[in-house]
């Protein structure tokens, strides 16, 4: 006989404003098998939880339904409360009265009726719940960090310094990411490379870190604690062990005019190149798509000049398989190209540049050695217009969100420009200034007050070229939307920060979710900001959404601490929501006939073949068997099993059937 306890939460007024909670509790009280039914203001509060705990004990409850918010929010809370009262936590279910009912419907009988249905359906389910016990699996104590920007560097170092192994994979020939491209950083204006480079070197030298640059994650299989990563090490065409990084090869390369990625196309590189002087590892790679030898079979100048004889034209991509316990994704972001903006000429005008390009122009290591020069003719621009929110916060462009860093770096750009070109004029067109952060507001005020940057609140409608000048036409909304037209020498667009190329396909490889803009989705925006919905995979930095360096670094450390926490256990406890193959009395042993369709359906290779033998060792039959360590509980096999011999704990056939029957009876 079931003795189910039903607990209806008002969630303050979140639920009770539209649902008659008292009526729900009362109606449920008369349902067969319900031994206890109450409503309460805040079920998740401490008194609320103790209400549940004491009811379990006093009323000898055999199951609990908490009708409150989404189980994705508080299921663990209430299951824990049940466990504390010695009720198996898997005998607790949550009805979602807030997100699925009160918040989406108006007050009325229909809403209360729906609430009653939602709860009673779960009462019928929980009656059929079985006590389940967590599954223990071993943990491989190696972390995979994907992306070698500041987030990846920080996460890798934190994990490695805690004594755990790290594999760091970077797509480019060097780690460093966008931060290595920056000039100075706000709000302190310290040199980006000065603070980053030592950390890059530290990565290279840390014995706990295995660094794969020019490499990409090919696939990830398995599950938390027990992933297997396949990493493609792209052929660098250089034997890294022999290469001394002397740079002779790059000098020898006859191809010189390849736009440098690092310098955002403002500088050039060769077909064999080191992306930038401080690169880690500081060893060149051959860009096979541009190399004369790979195109025509002739040249080999670099090889002939290499004193270490380290050039390897026959090198192949290498796939390495590594057992991994946890993953930190730090693949960062990208910025929209100027060609995305029709009103600003689709990237047609050379002197309309992105913020990142301007960083390179400002950078002492950049193509102009830190002098601000126009890309078109190399002259020093006397009038620069900075345009904030280029693309960002613009639904018409499909980018509704704020890119977060632009206000600050635009202020920085204007300021640095003024520092370098004292007689220059800097104009900033902005929508709003978002300078929340320690020292941020002060920083941008300084740009206005000390460096006399002209801030104009308004949008730019069009930029076109006339007589070698860029005509920037816009409106000044503080002056009654009066049209302004500035003849600028240069325009810097703070183009939107967007998800990195390939983010979507990486997310699919990792089986983590992502949002409409292809930023990786965190498990919970507030409470689980660095976790994904896939256990064991964490996020840090701008791959989750645009963010600045301090935030990125703190997230990276947070993700690292999650990994370290995970690795602090020899074994990992997993939810027992797994499939099981039934066992019946002999002579059948199981109703499974061993067609093993489930095996081909299982994405986790969790289904094995098991022999059932007589005591004498004679094979009676082969049946399917679920490896509880591998099964993730999707239940796909269950729906396939023709004889219903395989069932999913926690979502068993009987449970879901009962839900449907109750709902419609």
């Amino acid at each position: 006989m079931s003795r189910i306890g039903v607990f209806i939460c008002h969630c303050g007024e979140n639920i009770s404003a539209t649902v008659d909670c008292e009526k729900v509790a009362k109606t449920l009280a008369s349902m067969p098998g319900v031994a206890h039914s109450v409503d309460y203001k805040y079920m998740c509060s401490d008194p609320g939880q103790s209400l549940i705990r004491s009811a379990i004990k006093e009323k000898k409850l055999t199951g609990v339904v908490v009708a409150a918010c989404s189980p994705r929010m508080h299921e663990p809370t209430f299951r824990k409360a049940c466990a504390e009262a010695r009720l198996n936590p898997f005998l607790c279910e949550m009805a979602n009265l807030r997100e699925h009912c009160s918040w989406v419907h108006a007050k009325g009988d229909a809403t209360t009726d729906k609430a009653i249905d939602l709860v009673s359906m779960l009462v019928e389910k929980v009656k059929r719940n079985k006590p389940l016990f967590p599954i223990k699996v071993p943990v491989t104590k190696t972390a995979l960090v994907i992306g070698g920007g500041i987030a990846g560097i920080q996460a890798a170092l934190d994990i490695a310094n805690a004594g755990q192994k790290v594999v760091l994979v970077e797509r480019e020939p060097s780690i460093g990411g966008h931060m290595s491209q920056l000039s100075e950083t706000f709000p302190t204006l310290d040199c980006s490379q000065c603070i980053l480079t030592p950390r890059m070197v530290e990565v290279a030298q840390n014995p706990n870190i295995t660094l794969y640059t020019y490499a990409e994650v090919e696939s990830l299989s398995g599950f938390i604690g027990n992933f297997t990563a396949r990493i493609r090490k792209k052929a660098k065409s250089v034997d890294e062990k022999l290469c001394t990084g002397c740079g002779e090869c790059a000098t020898a390369c006859p191809i010189k005019k390849i736009p440098s990625e690092f310098n955002t196309g403002l500088g050039m590189r060769g077909a064999i190149y080191v992306p930038f002087p401080q690169a880690v590892p500081n060893k060149p790679v051959i860009d096979r798509s541009r190399c004369t030898y790979f195109k025509s079979g002739k040249c080999k100048f670099c090889a002939s000049k290499c004193p270490a004889q380290a050039i390897r034209f026959d090198q192949q991509d290498e796939i390495i398989e590594i057992p991994i316990g946890s993953v930190v994704v730090t693949t960062g972001f990208n910025i929209k190209e100027t060609s995305f903006f029709p009103e600003y000429g689709y990237g047609k005008y050379k002197d309309v540049v992105t913020g990142l390009q301007f960083e390179r122009l400002l950078s002492a290591s950049g193509p102009t050695l830190g002098e601000v020069k126009r890309p078109s003719d190399g002259t020093v621009p006397k009038k620069i217009v900075f345009v904030a929110c280029t693309g960002s916060r613009d639904p018409a462009k499909g980018i509704e969100y704020c890119s977060k860093i632009c206000c600050m770096y635009t202020a920085k750009h204007a300021m640095l420009y003024k520092h370098k070109v004292h007689d220059g004029d800097a104009y900033v067109f902005y929508m709003d200034i978002r300078a929340a952060g320690k020292g941020y507001d002060e920083f941008f005020r300084r740009a206005i007050e000390e460096d006399h940057v002209n801030y104009i609140r308004g949008r730019i409608s069009r930029i076109y070229e006339r007589n070698g000048k860029l005509i920037v036409r816009g409106a000044d909304t503080l002056l009654g939307a009066q049209q302004v037209e500035i003849e600028a020498d240069m325009v810097v667009l703070a183009t939107a920060a967007v998800a990195n190329d390939g983010a979507e396909s990486l997310a699919q490889k990792l089986h983590v979710s992502y949002d409409a803009h292809h930023f990786f989705a965190e498990a919970h925006p507030k409470l689980r900001p660095v976790e994904t919905n896939t256990a064991g995979i964490f996020l840090a930095g701008a791959c989750q959404s645009p963010k600045d360096i301090p935030e990125t670094v703190s997230q990276a450390s947070a993700a690292a601490s999650k990994v370290i926490g995970l690795f602090s256990n020899a074994e990992l406890t997993r939810e027992p929501i797994i499939a099981v193959v039934n066992r019946t009395a002999p002579p059948l042993f199981s109703t499974c006939v061993g067609c093993f369709m489930c095996q081909s359906a299982c994405p986790y290779h969790a289904i094995e073949q098991e022999e059932i033998k007589t005591r004498e060792g004679k094979l009676i039959k082969m049946v399917a068997k679920v490896n509880p360590g591998l099964c993730q509980g999707c239940g796909t096999c269950v729906a396939f099993c023709r004889s219903k011999s395989i069932d999913l704990q926690g979502y068993s056939n009987e449970q879901v059937y009962a839900e449907v029957m109750e709902l419609l009876s």
Binding site: S30, P32, T584, A585, P587, M661, S665
Partner: protein, 342 residues
Amino acid sequence: MSMQQRVIQHENLLKFLGEIISSGKQLYAPQKKAEKTYFLPASDVHSIVFDYIQTAESPKELLFPKTERMLSYEQVDGKLKMIDHAEGEIFPERVLFGSHPCDAVALKTLTDFFRHDVPDAFTQKRQDSLTVISVSCIKADDNCFCTSVGTSPGDTEGSDILLTPIGNAKYYVEVMTEKGQSLFAAHEKYFENSDIISKDKYLTKMSEVFSSSEVTARLSKAFDHPIWSDASLRCLGCGACAYVCPVCSCFDIQDEGTDKKGDRLRCWDSCGFSLFTLHTSGHNPRKNQSDRWRQRVMHKFSYMPERYELLGCVGCGRCSRACPADMNIKEQLKEITEKIEG
């Protein structure tokens, strides 16, 4: 029941049947559907088929439907209310036309079985409201063996009225029971007086292939005979034989619905199914197909005669026709009399 001898012309027979329909009774008569003949409710006498050997399904549905609602229940104001369909249900007046004598005997066997000891109201009430007009057989096929199981092409048992075709689109009429008499009386105008006719010469000739009493006698010692496993090798264990059999009456009781409202149903079942006797523990008293085949034969030819003095087979041959594996009962019974010592 001794009666004036009558005959009926074919066209009058159609009128007679038509009048039964228009009188509001449900007339079940053989009709074609796809390639086979079935007893179906007739709304037009011209759709009735006369030239057939055997229907695919037996008429037992008229007494023992494949799904019968025995009980309904409903929660009303927190109280369980039962609706008893044996009491409340009106069992409509029905006339079955065109059953052959074997089927009529089967209907009687079925009635007797369900009436035995603890009377079953459902079959009884259906029987009470059913009048059977059978038609003697003037042809038969290889699967028929009525004479071997004690009935015959002109057997009157179980029929309320028996018609025997005597050529020239005429039927010799025998009214056997009060039910038959009252139906006859209501439509007497269609019948003509006649001299006493010996119907035998019109009937199909069926030689006795075996003797059922001999089968019964042999079976009493045959439980462990190898014949069962040999014979049943090709048996697929479906229920086709039992479901087309006019006598087979095993059933299952099933509830449908929720705790709030639903029905208790009686559904056909078959001793040929492996799950029929399976215990929850996994133990199965009849775990081999041969056990189940034996049960089928034993039940009809040994247990039923012994317990009810009824033979569980009327020789209609439907099971042989229906069997996808050609388990021919006539052949098997003959073999029993040949292979098993008396």
